[in-house]
């Protein structure tokens, strides 16, 4: 298989990535990809683009024993902490990305950093919508969108600290995607320190133009010390 025609290469690459190139042709193509840079380049092009088709794929938590089997196969010694994490992890799929972002902070700082304050924003039915974590020593806020309701067209959800005796202070527009983090300003940190609750309002796209809530308060959640 040595076509030098760009179009043929691209057509084969797209069918390979899509998964419809099967059987011996697929195996030949895989060998070809490893030896021809253009083929590899076109495959990567399609891998990036077609991944979008997986938008409706709902995450599925693997059972805990899969990770243990991986460790065994790689001769990695699971630490007690790791085993504990695995069990916890299996029970708490909804906070996966928060854990990962916590890890990012750990790596960046080369020290153990734990959330100091957390909050869960829930719908009336009890469904968790966002999980918040505040890392006091790094002034970082991590937000995990667990089950985001449909966002009104052209609008954003905005998070507010509600300091006692003061006006609400914006903590930023909440993510439409799964997990994110941001560094808090001194004012935001101070407002959070004086707040026992946070609120979510619906605002024009990009956030309130006035710096104060302009839309309906949709959710209020209590801040609590992280355990």
């Amino acid at each position: 298989m040595k076509p030098d025609n760009h179009e043929i290469i691209d057509a084969l690459s797209s069918e390979y990535v899509l998964g419809t190139l099967r059987g011996p042709a697929r195996r030949r193509f895989e060998r070809w990809r490893t030896s021809v840079a253009l083929v590899d380049q076109r495959c990567r092009f399609w891998e990036e683009r077609l991944m979008r088709l997986a938008i409706r794929l709902a995450p599925l938590q693997p059972p805990a024993h899969v990770w243990i089997a991986i460790q065994r196969r790689l001769n990695l010694t699971p630490s007690r902490r790791a085993l504990h994490r695995t069990r916890s992890f299996a029970l708490a799929a909804s906070v996966l990305l928060v854990v990962g972002l916590t890890a990012l902070l750990y790596w960046r700082g080369h020290q153990t950093i734990r959330a100091t304050v957390v909050a869960t924003i829930s719908a009336k039915a009890g469904e968790h919508i966002w999980e918040l974590e505040v890392f006091g020593n790094t002034q970082r806020l991590v937000v995990h969108a667990v089950h985001l309701p449909a966002r009104p067209a052209g609008r954003d959800y905005e998070l507010w600290a509600l300091p006692k005796g003061g006006s609400p202070v914006s903590l930023g527009v909440l993510p439409a995607t799964d997990a994110s983090s941001r560094t808090l300003s001194a004012m935001q940190k101070q407002a959070l320190a004086n707040s026992s609750e946070v609120a979510v309002t619906v605002e024009p796209h990009g956030g309130s133009p006035t710096g104060q809530p302009t839309g309906d308060v949709l959710y209020v959640a209590r801040l609590r010390a992280a355990s």
């Binding site: 099967r22 991944m51 979008r52 938008i55 794929l57 854990v99 990962g100 993510p175």
Partner: protein
Amino acid sequence: MNTVAESPTEFDELLQGLLGRCAAADSNALQRLYELVSPILFASVSRILRRRALAEEALQDVFISIWQQAGQFTAARGRPMAWMMSIARYRAIDLLRRERYAPTLVAELPERSSIDAESESQGQTAAWLPTSELMEPCLALLSDMQARCLELAFIDGSSHEDIARLMGSPLGTVKSWIRRALRSLRQCLER
């Protein structure tokens, strides 16, 4: 007004950092990576293989490959999630080829996300997905049949023959739909 995050970029950086540490044989990094991406990769391989034991085997293989090949990944190769998703899908397709079996539904077989078409149309996506402003209008150009064919192939791992059977259409027609759909996407994306 501040935005809480540029999530895809930060998520990419996070995954890239983890892969770099895996390449340096840091097993803690592999564990973090597993925690972050295994639910998506497991959903993908489960959807293709439709048998729990096989899907678990595939997921193990995928993370062995990620660990062994992490040094080959660079940011210039593209998004780390696309790289890992490809490893997972290709492994599942390989296992499909190896296993000649009657598909059995996995108990928790991931179906369409509860994030339905309405919320999709409002631009809400999972963090692990690229916010592809380029891809969306190109996908919108496809006919319903073409889009369905691509989805069945990419998400469910269906072969041309499977798709023809599922859609009740002649094999040649299905192949033509897919070929034209991919050509249409390429032309649109490279405009």
